[in-house]
Amino acid sequence: MNKKFSFLLVLVLALSTFLAACSSSSSDKAGSDNKSGSGSGSGKKDQVLNLIATAEIPSMDSTLATDSVSFLVMNNVYEGLYRLGKNNEPVLGMAAEEPKVSADGKTYTFKLRDAKWSNGDPVTANDFVYSWRRAVDPATAAEYAYMLYDVKNAEEINTGKAKPDALGIKAVDDKTLEITLKNNVPYFKSLLSFGTFYPENEKFVKSQGKNYALEANTGVYNGPFTLSDWKHEQSFQLKKNPTYWDKDTVKLNTINFNIVKDTATAVNLFETNKVDRVTLNAEFVDKYKNNKEFGSYPETSVFFLRLNEKNKVLANRDARKAIDMAWDKKSFVDVILNNGSQPANYLVPSDFAKGPDGKDFRETNGDLSKLDVAEAKKLWAKAKKEAGFDKVSLELLNYDDDNSKKISQYLKEQLESNLDGLTITIKPQPFKQKLDLESKGNYDFSFAGWGPDYQDPMTFIDMFVTGGAHNQMGYSNKQYDKLVADAKGPLLSDLNARWKAMLDAEKILMDDAAISPMYQRGTSYLQRDYVKGIVKHPFGGDFGYKWASIEQ
């Protein structure tokens, strides 16, 4: 008996030493981490906002960034000539006053305000010249270089046909900047608030070399906040920037971000008061929709089915129309997405761009297709005769995440039961492989989405011009091509006619059923009552915290 006991004792001892070793090794870590103070109890008084990021920041170099997390952080720590304001209109940032625009609308002359980088250097006109040239230089290999293609010679430089110093930007003196455009695009001001157009401190970038913006202390900031701490894959922290020109407007002292990828985990952290705001998915909307901290808003991304006209059935307009009309978008959005998304019968999202008449694009054009199963069946029968088929099997190409799978299954069931003789096989593929198949045209129809690059309907409208890079389904309509070309060229000086051309182009797309629009994405969230003034932006960085505050 004694021996047995001693044997157990040894095991228990071994176990306890292991535990002791573990706790001692990590106790110092716990101590050092407490200073980041993610407890919300103290947060309220101190103007500390605790948030969640869904991924590590891929890049803090404004010329290289392409993703939403990077742009979100950059929108709050950097500032371009303009910044999107509380009402999502471009308001003056680094620019001291509205620019002088030449008669042809192609040359902008800006006066810069007296602003400083967080290391004390002044923000100069040269900082813009440097970063813009860097962005279009093919040696930089910036993926978003094409954002600058409206600037004179940008495309030529990027494709190696011209030298970077030929770019249409010039520092007249330290505080005067002259920009020359290729076309007098009307949305240029809002473009100037976008990440790729931010200035970069040449001296600082060069002194850091390869390490520039890889860590919190190897970057330099000119926005309302600075990136003060960055633990990769774990957390990062923004602090109020004392050198910001408009620092009196900024109320928050600290914003803590923790990187959490799982929605349920994020909600649990909200429930235990670790964070002040969390994004919900469909499952949690059911649980929280009657909660007073619940809210939702529409985003500006639109999702649709690409109908590949290489397929002989889908080359038939009636067949495409039948597919578009045969499935119930409303139930789909309400039951499956359930996150504030809206059914889409259009391409250009609502609450995104206003015309010269001050009306939302969507308000003018309205819904351009509808659910009508009886009509869909008629069209389908007609298509069968025209294209000469009786039974057809189509492949639905989709991403491989849970949500996309749900969508595929729903579409399959709806279309198969409403259109006789149609069989749908689902092909889920990893992200990059799906895109690759799509760009090669190896699919029948696919689930796709598009988010705007600039605040103008054209970012959606021009996707499907004949031979265009994003027209991956062989769609072609001369009348539509002409409207797009006009709106991008001759009509730039007549904004009303241009607007009308874009409205008409969308109508043609929908009438041809080039795509079957699905939904405009929405987001549902929970946010503490004491958090005020977070501004949601329709493009660029998702949120602005410049005006946010914690109220008692």
């Binding site: 849970d402 689902i426 889920p428 990893p430 492989q433």
Partner: protein, 338 residues
């Protein structure tokens, strides 16, 4: 102490031995190896429990989807997310199969639904009862197929490697190391990209690297066994290699092999679930237990029955396979024969 007890033995503890005839009889009938194993398996309550559960679940997996008037893919969004309702058991409150959601609201009554969905419905309004058993069917198919093929390849490879040892062993083990060194995920992704997603490509993908575990274990056992006296004796007596492997080595290492197989089955069920998790599992709308648990996981706080029911069935299935495996090990071990 011993002495004292002996002194105190009373005569009525003794009884005359039975007649001569009885003594001559062989007390234990001569039984074949398998019959003997079955007799011993039968005495093991855990193993029998496991066997029964496996049989019942398999039967349900085969017949339940056939017997239901619903199928696993038909959707009805107006009937989505219905809680489970089982007629008699609904009176037992802790089971929560009374058709009421977690706030105690009777959804069936509110929506005026006559039909009882025993396991409820999922977010697309499909009958979860049928989906669960359909999923069990697919999971069992994948797991058993993968386990059997792993077993075959593993025994041959590990057996040869361990038995011959030396250079052969060295080369064969290096090949295994290389195979394991390449992340399974990359191979599987390539596989699914090249072949159409479906049951057979999942099984194949699992086999590519799955057999290596079995091979390593067989080899380890082989190395241990072949140094043992009875093998040496047999060798000395001039037994051929094939006889050594077939008659002496394999039966003696059957225990670990069976245990490993009983782990391969649940392992395969989980690999499949993991594939579903990263989006490469079974092609929808087909279901497997893994994909159901995965889908259900998102509903942990809102519609927990979508997670709990398939989880219970997975656990029950794996537990049973393990109990059965343990029982088989004991029953098949030649050293346990008396």
């Amino acid at each position: 102490m011993e002495q004292k007890q002996l002194d105190q033995l009373s005569t009525d503890l003794f009884r005359p031995a039975a007649g001569r005839g009885d003594l001559e009889q062989i007390g234990r009938p001569s039984l074949s190896y398998w019959k003997d194993a079955w007799l011993r398996l039968r005495k093991n309550k855990g193993a029998i429990f496991g066997l029964i559960v496996v049989i019942v679940l398999t039967a349900l997996a085969i017949f339940a989807p056939m017997a239901s008037k619903n199928d696993y893919h038909t959707q009805n969004l107006s009937l989505s997310k219905l809680p489970p309702k089982i007629p008699v058991l609904e009176k037992v409150s802790f089971l929560h199969v009374d058709g009421k959601d977690k706030d105690g609201f009777d959804v069936y009554k509110a929506k005026n639904i006559k039909e009882n969905y025993w396991f409820g419905t999922d977010d697309l309004g499909r009958d979860q009862w049928v989906r669960v058993w359909q999923g069990t069917r697919i999971s069992l198919l994948i797991a058993v197929a993968a386990a059997l093929i792993d077993l075959g390849i593993g025994i041959i490879y590990g057996g040869v490697s361990g038995f011959y040892g030396g250079k052969v062993d060295n080369i064969m083990m290096r090949i295994i190391e290389i195979l394991i060194g390449i992340p399974q995920l990359i191979l599987v992704i390539l596989f699914i990209l090249i072949f159409k997603p479906g049951v057979s490509s999942i099984i194949l993908a699992m086999i590519i690297t799955g057999w290596t575990g079995m091979a390593r274990i067989v080899r380890g056992q082989m190395l241990k066994m072949k140094e043992q006296e009875f093998v040496m004796a047999s060798k000395t007596l001039g037994a051929a290699n094939s006889r050594l492997i077939g008659k002496h080595l394999i039966p003696n290492i059957l225990g670990p092999i069976i245990v490993t197989t009983m782990f391969t089955v649940p392992g395969a069920i989980f690999t499949e679930a993991f594939l579903s998790f990263i989006g490469l599992g079974i092609a929808p709308p087909q279901a497997s237990l893994g994909s159901l648990v995965n889908d259900g996981f998102r509903f942990l706080q809102t519609y927990p029955y979508l997670l709990i029911i398939p989880s219970i069935i997975i656990s029950l299935l794996i537990l049973s396979f393990n109990l059965l495996g343990d029982g088989l090990r004991d029953a098949l071990d030649p050293k346990m024969r008396k």
